[in-house]
């Protein structure tokens, strides 16, 4: 009986001491901190786009601010001029846009890495003008074709839309990030021109038949660290 009691108290001691041992081991390890701050950058897709397609001239600033472990407030600000040639019409869209929203980082970083695979939501707004450069009436090819009076400028147009984004950002040098993202967009409301249509909207890109669109971004950005916080 005495032996059993001794064993019991021994087990008790183990039960009390072991967690302390484990805990103290954790306390011993290096503390990793996350950088919090403002990350600003530019979109590289537009300059590449301009290089490939001379009818596209654009510039976009991107930025995000980390508000918690996984959430970032993010925004994009841009301007674009894009000319598009279709079978019977040729038009230029010219305007500015702003997108604002939230990014959620779903990537659990090891050690002191600061990469992200994120999902985002944006609300987008754009003001722009459409210029119908030229148009030909779509009529019977049996008879001569008729060009329409052009150019026609449709001014003071605007659009509101929402976006879902999937993307990643990788810290390549200290505080320097390369990122790319893909977005699906859905138009909420537009101010349409009279007897024409917003076929392209700055920030939204090509407007498909059911008022949806796609986007691709390739960015380089720099993190201005403001404070650090233990993970």
């Amino acid at each position: 009986m005495k032996l059993l009691r001794m064993l019991k108290s021994f087990i008790n001691i183990i039960c009390i001491v072991v967690p302390f041992l484990v805990f103290s081991q954790e306390k011993d390890s290096i503390v990793y901190k996350d950088s919090y701050g403002l990350r600003i950058g530019v979109d590289l897709y537009n300059p590449i786009g301009t290089f490939i397609d001379a009818d596209r001239k654009g510039f976009e600033l991107v930025g995000d601010y980390r508000i918690s472990k996984n959430y970032y407030v993010a925004a994009e600000l841009g301007t674009i001029e894009k000319t598009r040639e279709e079978d019977f019409i040729n038009f230029t869209t010219n305007g500015q846009y702003i997108k604002a929203g939230i990014d959620y980082n779903a990537y659990e970083n090891w050690l002191d890495m600061e990469n992200s695979i994120y999902f985002g939501f944006r609300y987008g707004f754009s003001t722009f003008k459409q210029t119908l450069n030229s148009a030909t009436l779509n009529s019977s090819p049996f008879l001569p074709q008729q060009p329409l009076d052009a150019p026609i400028i449709y001014d003071n147009l605007n659009a509101h839309w929402v976006e879902l984004i999937i993307g990643m950002k990788v810290e390549t040098l200290n505080n320097l990030y390369l990122g790319f993202s893909f977005s699906g967009k859905k138009m909420v409301s537009t101010k349409e021109p009279d007897n024409f249509k917003n076929l392209f909207v700055p920030g939204f890109n090509r407007v498909f038949l059911n008022n949806s669109g796609f986007g691709f971004n390739y960015t380089i950005s720099y993190l201005i660290p403001i404070y650090k916080k233990v993970k």
Binding site: E86, D87, F88, I89, Y104, A106, Y107, E108, W110, F119, A135, T136, L137, N138, S139, S140, F142, L143, P144, Q145, Q146, L148, L164, I166, F182, G184, K185, K186, N195, F196, K197, L199, F208, L209, N210, S212, G213, F214
Partner: protein, 167 residues
Amino acid sequence: MQFNNSTYKRLNVLLILLLVLAITSCERDDICIDEITPNFVLRFYDIENIDDTKNVNQLSVQVLGVDNDSLVFTGLDSIAIPLKVTENTTQYILTIMSDNVTNSNRDTLTLNYTQESIFVGRSCGYKSVFNNVTYQLTTDSDNWIEDLEIVNNSITNETAAHVKIFH
């Protein structure tokens, strides 16, 4: 990479949402399938029995002022022919039995109208519709077109005849 379970669930939901967006976004509008500038539609009726249609034989249609071959229709009770969009008047020479020199008969039909351009879409561009259309048959010693009934004063689609021709 370390994900926990709830992250995975959120990931899945977002991925599905993106996929749905991507699929529904692929509606094409590169190929024009909508109605463009309408043709002028004539329907041929029997003068002796005005409720019955009567086919035309070897009807050739020539648009005046255009260097094109005539359009020839055979055994039809209705035809659709293009209107000029370059001006506000189109003159047609309608020759019946055009393959037969002795029996052929030419009649001239003139249409005057105003045009309106309407935007259709990305691939179709603009179409023209014709309003305030007047139809005028030039009378000669022997018209094969005995009578003409105006059905519609505007030509905006091709779903029904714009004039009835009795012969």
